[in-house]
């Protein structure tokens, strides 16, 4: 694994990595700057409803005359914030559980693996819907529910990495020299386990974006009036007879966001570990 600059150079070198990097940068700028430069995404102006794209409304307006460029930017920001938080939380919880299981072995290891297996036995969206049915909708609940779905993946990978590290000569050496387990974990396990986990995290960002958009599309994710790409698609879909624009704008943004982050994630994986090239989704 090279330095950060070398990794980005590697990503830029492959054509799909370059497309991914450009798309991710564009989506990031749109999400960060879009809401700053546009009108209030929740401002209702019914007389301006269902406008086609123009200079004042770059993506047109919706059924309440709200500016769709501003709303799509707000929805993109929500998608990115949620996916980053979910991936970070599941990486953190998963790696703590996975490293603990790998280090402890025996009964604890088996227990953690069984919990991961049980969570993975549920079709992901169905489990998310069940949890939302029990605990209700809302931003915090949405984060909590989607994080649960992703913990097993990170946990399994952290455990596998820990197991392969545990009997490396340098770890044995440190142990013989009397390094406490806590320091051993912080100084040697975390840094060595983290690399592959970050790659996994970047590959999971588009998956989280898709699940968030799907749940919001069903009305179970981000709640109105806050816009989300999923709810924008749904609202547009209801008024399809009047105008196609509300659906097209948000659906294309969603597709570009997932495409860009997937290409970026794959290029990052190939750059970080050339051995893995061509494997996985």
């Amino acid at each position: 694994m090279g330095s950060l600059g070398a990794i980005f150079a590697d990503i830029w070198r492959s054509p799909s990595g370059r497309i991914g990097l450009v798309l991710v940068t564009a989506i990031l700028l749109f999400a960060i700057l879009g809401p700053v430069f546009t009108v209030d995404p929740n401002k209702i102006a019914v007389q301006d409803r269902f406008q086609t794209p123009s200079v004042t409304h770059l993506l047109g307006t919706d059924n309440l005359g709200r500016d769709l460029f501003a709303r799509t930017a707000q929805g993109t920001r929500a998608a990115l914030v949620i996916s980053l938080l979910v991936v970070a939380a599941s990486l953190l919880i998963g790696s703590v559980l996975g490293i603990t299981a790998g280090m402890a072995g025996g009964f604890i290891d088996r227990g953690v693996i069984v919990v991961f297996d049980i969570i993975s036995a549920y079709p992901p969206v169905i489990l998310a819907m069940g949890l939302i049915a029990l605990y209700g909708t809302g931003f915090g609940n949405l984060l909590f529910v989607v994080t649960i779905l992703f913990i097993p993946q990170f946990g399994r990978m952290a455990r596998a990495q820990t197991l392969s590290l545990r009997h490396q000569p340098f770890i044995d050496a440190e142990r013989i020299l009397g390094l406490p387990t806590r320091k051993l974990i912080l100084r040697h396990f975390m840094p060595n386990v983290l690399g592959p986990l970050i790659v996994l995290a970047s590959m999971n960002i588009p998956v989280v974006i898709t699940i968030e958009a799907g749940l919001s599309y069903l009305g179970l994710g981000v709640q109105p009036p806050q816009a989300s790409l999923g709810s924008l698609i749904k609202d547009g879909y209801i008024y399809l007879n009047q105008s196609w624009w509300p659906t097209i704008g948000s659906a294309v943004t969603l597709a570009l966001a997932t495409l860009g982050s997937t290409l970026f994630g794959e290029a990052l994986r190939d750059a970080a570990d050339p051995k893995l090239k061509g494997h996985g989704r």
Binding site: S16, V114, D117, I118, I119, A121, Y122, P123, P124, V125, I126, L127, M129, G130, L131, I132, A133, L134, Y135, P206, T210, A213, G214, Y217, L218, G219, L220, I233, Y237, L240, W244, T247, A251, L254, A255, T258, L259, T262, L263, G278, H279, R281
Partner: protein, 322 residues
């Protein structure tokens, strides 16, 4: 030899049963953490005091937690899901009514994705670097990453609303197979397109790997035609990774079927769960969850068997896997 496979199957079945039991326990635990009055939260605002009392009785809410669990577990494995609070019909009947629609949708999507995925993957692997291979490589990524409900909406816009080739919503008349098939085409296509792209990529990669192996080069040296090598020898090996991944694929399809059923207003397990959440009717949600877990775990079990039959080395590696 057959003893190895028999032991492997027995081991996988035991593991699947443990997972199922664990999944029921997990469901019980997450229900326990619901804040507030359980009957009120799970049955929603419509529930009368009598209904709540009946629910508390059924769940054994006045008993100790272990007793409650035994009751919950017993009901779940006996398939006793209780009666619906609105229609007072047995919930099992409602599930059985909706299940075939979802199974047909997921089954059709599975079939479509395997047929087209294998075909396109073979074509791409036989001529790597060709125009077709490049087009396939680029478009498959786009299809994989676009969420299935977005694909569903665009298919609906184009083929139903613009071209009027296929019906818009529903599952078709129950006694008219042709009508049902017409209603199945677009939802199954929407559900499978991503997997077609994914499987084509997977098959292409594993075929290219297999085609460089010693025994394949040997066959080529003996003058066996390339098409025959692929069809009779290489493809069988290349199918193993695909079948493993389809275990996950079935979970993904059951998940995404929820969105697809919603877009096409199609009856099914997803629609059933969704409607039950909207009106706060948890017993139905719970029944839907239990059945989808059962389907998912059984599908994975089936995938394990299939893999062990295709590649007996998998069964023999049991010791390392445990």
């Amino acid at each position: 030899m057959s003893g190895t496979i028999g032991r492997f199957i027995a081991h996988r079945m035991a593991a699947a049963l443990v997972t199922l039991a664990g999944a029921i326990l997990f469901l019980f635990i997450i229900i326990q953490f619901v804040p507030g009055d359980l009957a009120g939260v799970l049955l929603g605002p419509r529930a009368t005091p009598e209904l709540r009392a009946a629910f508390a009785q059924r769940m054994g809410l006045d008993r100790s937690l272990p007793e409650q669990f035994v009751l919950f577990f017993g009901n779940a494995i006996r398939g006793d899901l209780g009666n619906d609070i609105i229609t007072s019909r047995p919930i099992l009947d409602i599930v059985v009514e909706n299940l075939p629609n979802t199974l047909q949708l997921a089954g059709a999507a599975l079939l479509l994705s395997m047929i087209f995925g294998i075909a396109l993957g073979c074509i791409a692997a036989l001529k790597p670097g060709s125009m077709l291979d490049t087009v396939l490589g680029v478009s498959s990524v786009a299809f994989i990453t676009t969420p299935s409900f977005v694909i569903a909406i665009f298919l609906l816009l184009i083929f139903s609303l613009q071209l009027h080739w296929l019906p818009v919503t529903g599952a078709g008349k129950p006694d008219d197979p042709l009508d049902r098939l017409a209603h199945l085409v677009l939802p199954a296509a929407a559900l499978s397109i991503g997997w077609v792209g994914y499987l084509a990529r997977l098959i292409r990669a594993s075929l290219l790997e297999v085609l460089t192996e010693q025994h394949v080069r040997m066959m080529r040296a003996y003058g066996v035609p390339e098409g025959r090598i692929v069809r009779h020898f290489a493809l069988r090996l290349a199918l193993v990774p695909m079948i493993s991944i389809m275990g996950l694929g079935i979970g993904d399809m059951i998940s995404n079927a929820v969105f697809i059923e919603y877009v096409f207003a199609r009856p099914g397990i997803g629609t059933m769960i969704y409607n039950a959440i909207r009106i706060r009717n948890f017993p139905i949600v719970q029944a839907g969850i239990l059945f989808t877990v059962l389907i998912y775990v059984s599908a994975n079990l089936f995938v394990d068997f299939l893999n062990a039959l295709l590649d007996p080395r998998i069964a023999r590696s049991l010791k390392q896997a445990v």
